[in-house]
Amino acid sequence: MFWKRQFPIMITAFVAVVMIVAYFIPKPGFAGTRDNLQQWFLIVVTFTMVLGLLNLFFVSLHKARKGRKEDRFYNWVTIVALLGTIAAGFLKGGINSPAFDFIFNYVYIPLSATIFSLLAFYVASASFRAFRAKSVMATILLITAFIVMLGRVPLGDWVTGWAQGTSLDFLYLPNITNWIMEVMNMAGQRAVLMGAALGLIATGIKIILGIERSYLGGE
């Protein structure tokens, strides 16, 4: 139990305290220890990449052999793509080899960009079906989104360009958009950030003191 629970907690607390002290007291002794710990971290994290790859391979292999019949094909695709890309990376030239370049430029980039681009279609469909003024709050959200969407494209400039530089400058949509982003949005975002930061500090203290142990796994 000591090696599974107390010992990792002691390591965590020691490393955390060293890193905090080194941050506030940047003297050579502390900085040296911090640098060594950072190097260790980078080495350990690199091995997690290998673990991730092995995990992906074995999970996909298991699903390809014993998973749902209709999903098996996709798991084989994952395995072939994984092994194919790794093999291309080991060819002469490494990640600059023509085979790896081909996979990256003509398979990975187009596929990845296409999947993300599909979002535009779903956003349009969702805006038609779900973006409705059913309550006061929803209406405020709708109007704000309306202004920002117009203000972020040249259309907003074309429609309200006549107001720019006049006494009615406040009606110029790009200006209203900037105001919404830099005042209203920022106030909300700042509150969220501060709340998250306080939560992070509290969680950090709990981890150092051994109160929060979920990162160790198990019960």
Partner: protein, 279 residues
């Protein structure tokens, strides 16, 4: 079923088709659009513009191809700006695919401007570890990156003759699609090592970074395709973003029309229902 009811239940494939046409047709005509400058983009431009010739700029490619449409034009614009100002550039990535995307740009741009690898620019590649990598750069660049992307020792690259740690850089630009990314550059490079940090993010994540900009932790920020188009306009080099703005313009217009149609039909049908109930 009345016309309004049909409209209310419009098949989403029709919406997809309209959006597809709205995006595709303007891209065919490739009309560059100059956009109105916002202070947040102007500031990052002025930050790089104000650096003396030969300054060291670290460009971190913290994104993958899924956000390429938005972030790659920003990267291209900033790189061109750095080249025009004769700054020296060091590329790296906190995301595995990032350095390869930087390489893709430089393969086109470097021969055009007669840039020499190792002297005018260098690509360090990817290192896993996120924030710790940045922190480690503050101790010595060779700690996380003993070699460049091609395995050449940094000692053999003239660009690093007087550059040993993160503090020796004059500006950091992070093109970021998430975590790790620009937030971590602000936390370590700016707050701890006092190196100015600017960058670009996707349009959906841009609102979250205005607080950093307002506090002075972030020098400037490009948000989405619009941010990239603004930067292209500032350096007077229309590129992918300026051409893409036309498509985005029409796509936004269509979405606004869909919202108007959706709400109008909802209100009319609601009134009709209320009237029929009263009767």
């Amino acid at each position: 079923m009345s016309f309004l009811e049909k409209l209310d239940r419009l098949d989403r494939r029709i919406i997809f088709l309209i959006i597809g046409i709205a995006v595709f047709v303007p891209l065919l005509f490739r009309v560059p659009i100059k956009v109105v400058q916002s202070p947040i983009v102007q500031d990052i431009y002025e930050g790089i513009e104000a650096l003396p010739e030969g300054s060291m700029v670290l460009l971190s490619f913290d994104y993958d191809p899924s956000t390429l449409a938005e972030l790659q034009p920003m990267s291209e614009a900033v790189i061109k700006h750095c080249i025009l100002k004769k700054h020296r550039m060091v590329f790296m990535g906190l995301w595995p695919q990032g350095p390869k995307l930087a390489q893709g740009i430089m393969e086109t741009v470097a021969p055009q401007y007669d840039l020499q690898y190792g002297v005018d620019y260098v690509n360090l590649g990817y290192k896993t570890g996120g924030m710790v990598v940045i922190s480690s750069l503050g101790s010595a660049i060779t700690d996380p990156f003993p070699t460049d992307m091609n395995g050449v020792s940094l000692r053999n690259l003239p660009i690093f003759d007087n550059v040993k740690t993160l503090r020796d850089f004059d500006y950091v630009v992070s093109m970021s699609a998430g975590d790790p990314g620009i937030k971590h550059w602000v936390m370590i490079a700016k707050d701890r090592f006092k190196v100015p940090v600017g960058g670009g993010v996707t349009a959906v994540s841009a609102p979250a970074f205005y607080a950093y900009y307002n506090s002075g932790q972030l020098e400037g920020l490009m948000g989405g395709l619009r941010g990239a188009a603004e930067y292209e306009t500032l350096i007077d080099t229309p590129g992918t973003a300026s051409y893409g703005m036309s498509a985005q313009n029409w796509a936004h217009l269509m979405i606004i029309l869909f919202i108007i149609i959706g709400n109008t039909t909802m209100l009319i049908l609601k009134r009709k229902k209320e009237k029929s109930r009263v009767r």
